[in-house]
Amino acid sequence: MIPTPIGNATPHATGFWRRYIFSADHKVIGIQYYLTAMAMALVAGALALLMRIQLTWPGIRLSWLGKLFPAGMPGGVMTPEFYLSLITMHGTLMVFFVISLALVSGFGNYLIPIQIGARDMAYPFLNMLSFWLVVPACLIMLGSFFVEGGAAAAGWTAYPPLSALPQAVPGSGWGQTLWLLAMALFIVSFTMGGLNYVTTILNLRTKGMSMMRLPLTVWTLFFAAVLGLLTFPALTAAAIMLLFDRHFGTSFFVPGGLFVGGEIVPHEGGTPLLWQHLFWFLGHPEVYVLLLPAVGMTFDVLAAFTRKPVFGYRLVVISLIVLTALSVVVWGHHMFVSGMSPYLGEFFTIGTMLITVPSAVIGLCLIASLWGGCLRLTTPMLFAIGVIALFGTGGFGGIFLGNATSDIFLHGSYFVVGHFHFMIGGVTLFAMFAATYFWFPKMFGRSMNERLGRIHFWLSLIGFYGMFLGMHFLGLNGLPRRYYAFTQFEILKPLQGMHLWISISSFLFAAASFLFLFNFFWSLARGSRAARNPWEATTLEWTVRSPPPHGNWEAEPPQVHRWAYEYSAPDAARDFTPQTVEPDGAMAPK
């Protein structure tokens, strides 16, 4: 009944356009996603630096920027509405167009088929379509900076009525409409990708590749895809209703009796909280969509550089299942002080504290994977250990915020900013770097420069902690997020000093990221040639040449005889045994 599990590679396209631009090859698409994410990261990072400059030196004049954004920075001085556009777009771009695109779509596309022994995704054409839907989404998002009123300015959470009423903030004019359209395109694209992931992982595994033999990268991408499929529709529904409220006069979210900008708002009876529920029904699982693949890839890198199997493979899989299930019933912890029923608050507190259990089990497995290993501290390994550190530091912060009682004081403060940057900024970014240094030789047939990589790691680590560790404690002081300046309040003025250090750290981190970019492109052209399996790893992608040919396997797809983490097996000749090696030790026929 099931077709032979080799995947659906399309005939190898010839010609530049079909091969590199409108390609249906999962590897090309993965790299396209990755490079798109990189471009978006440059923009989103630049926005963050602008924010840092404004927060550290409020009202500073940067004349040359005034030319680029004549409306947002007239004469080079940032307006508050432009600052709000910056926070909104930084968040949106980073969450959806950088981390999602690079980790889930980029590495997901590249790794899933090749790690499970398929020739391609189940639906290569759909895959191509999904990438080419994201491109206009990116362009619309970026273009929204240049429409009247500027880009969306209601925060990445786009809470109505602020996001519904153009008269409430300039960015809620065309900027917000474009934001909604771009998000809609993104969701359609992500859904198509998710369908591909789920079907490919379930049905295209090669002979012998049982679910319990999958690398954890694939497992985590599977759960990320499932979560995406089940929770993004909530945002789709909310976005449709918000569009209707904005343009067709309906009142889903906008209540009656509002008086904005000197005028009565002609709406009746909508409920703003409805948006928050729908948004966070997606928004919280989205955190796991980003976080889980980061953790999965970290496990794979750890195994390769500890030269031993990961600790608790089964525990991780079980924890992933529990996390996935719990993550769709805890969204209310973003809304403890939103005005929803306090009884719900109790429910969500208890649920959220429960979710710390599988998270902590995964944390334990990450740390315990080091035990007894022979650590080879290459760049990918350094970043992987960085992930463990960030996962720990950031994860503990979450316990403060998931608790409704302490959240009364900490909600909406810099504690929150610090916490989520650790989790969906740091863990994911460091995992992305680890994955890049790790799989770069496979993707491009050349290795990245190790020395630059290590410098990149240390600057990033110091820069990252410098940026976000202190923010937790600013939050403990009560410093609210999304403030254009902290000059108006007596209690906030003394905190200005820390902002200087945060900004310096952010410049350091930015510099490190440019080092990474330089290394990336320099290595593309000049890096040393990589063999098939430079890291002596066990999973299937390392059994083919670098970069792998179209269709991944020259001859028949491989047969798998063992699980993904056969390192330092007692009777094996070498300290790693690829999944394709037959139990008696002979290499599987090609």
């Binding site: 369908l195 089940l230 309906t250 889903f252 007894g372």
Partner: protein
């Protein structure tokens, strides 16, 4: 059983675990779905979640002070009968392979009639003075029927595709996966409509 094996196999490195011995699942379990079916069901899951999100929004919104029930246009009941019978003909088409071309064509036409009927329903409602933004339940009515209609339009295209394929598959005597797929999707749309109708009329 395999768990037992590992428990006796010593404490630390050296011995292999159940994971390493785990046999590959080459024989697919009987509940395994084909890739196409799997993709379809995953898609249906995400569509279900979309409408579930709208339904929960509806249930929240209807507690608002300004909520007024609207009179649903009478043609909806006719449309419902049309869609339900199209579901029936779809099933006939799927089961009775020798005659499926005819039933499939009838299903397609019934689908088109439903689609047009829904459009007439909108006109009836507008004639009663209920526009998109007149009334919250009216807004939901337009949005929900519109979205369902969009999915149904996709279903009609899918049906046309299946019709085309079925004609060819029939001529060379093969079973056709597209037919089973479109049947599942069509039944789903009918069930979804019943759900929406209950939501809009009874709640």
């Amino acid at each position: 059983m395999q768990m037992e094996l590992t428990q006796t196999s010593g404490l630390s490195g050296g011995t292999s675990s159940a994971l390493e011995r785990n046999q590959g699942s080459d024989a697919n379990p009987p509940w395994a779905l084909s890739t196409g079916e799997l993709a379809l069901w995953a898609f249906l899951a995400t569509v279900t979640m979309l409408f579930a999100a709208f339904a929960s929004a509806y249930l929240v919104r209807r507690t608002g002070a300004d909520w007024q029930p609207i009179d649903l246009p009478g043609i909806l009941w006719f449309n419902t009968m049309v869609l339900l019978s199209s579901s029936g003909t779809m099933e006939l088409a799927r089961r009775r392979r020798e005659r499926f071309n005819g039933w499939l064509a009838i299903t397609t036409w019934l689908g088109i009639i439903f689609f047009v009927g829904q459009g007439l329903g909108w006109r009836q409602l507008a004639a009663h003075g209920v526009y998109l933004s007149t009334n919250p339940q009216g807004s939901f009515f337009y949005v929900l029927t519109g979205l369902h209609g969009l999915h149904l339009a996709g279903g009609i295209l899918f049906l046309g595709h299946a019709l085309n394929r079925a004609a060819r598959a029939h001529s060379d005597g093969r079973d056709d996966a597209a037919l089973h797929g479109v049947a599942t999707y069509w039944h789903f749309l009918a069930a979804l409509w019943i759900g929406l109708l209950v939501l809009l009329s009874a709640l």
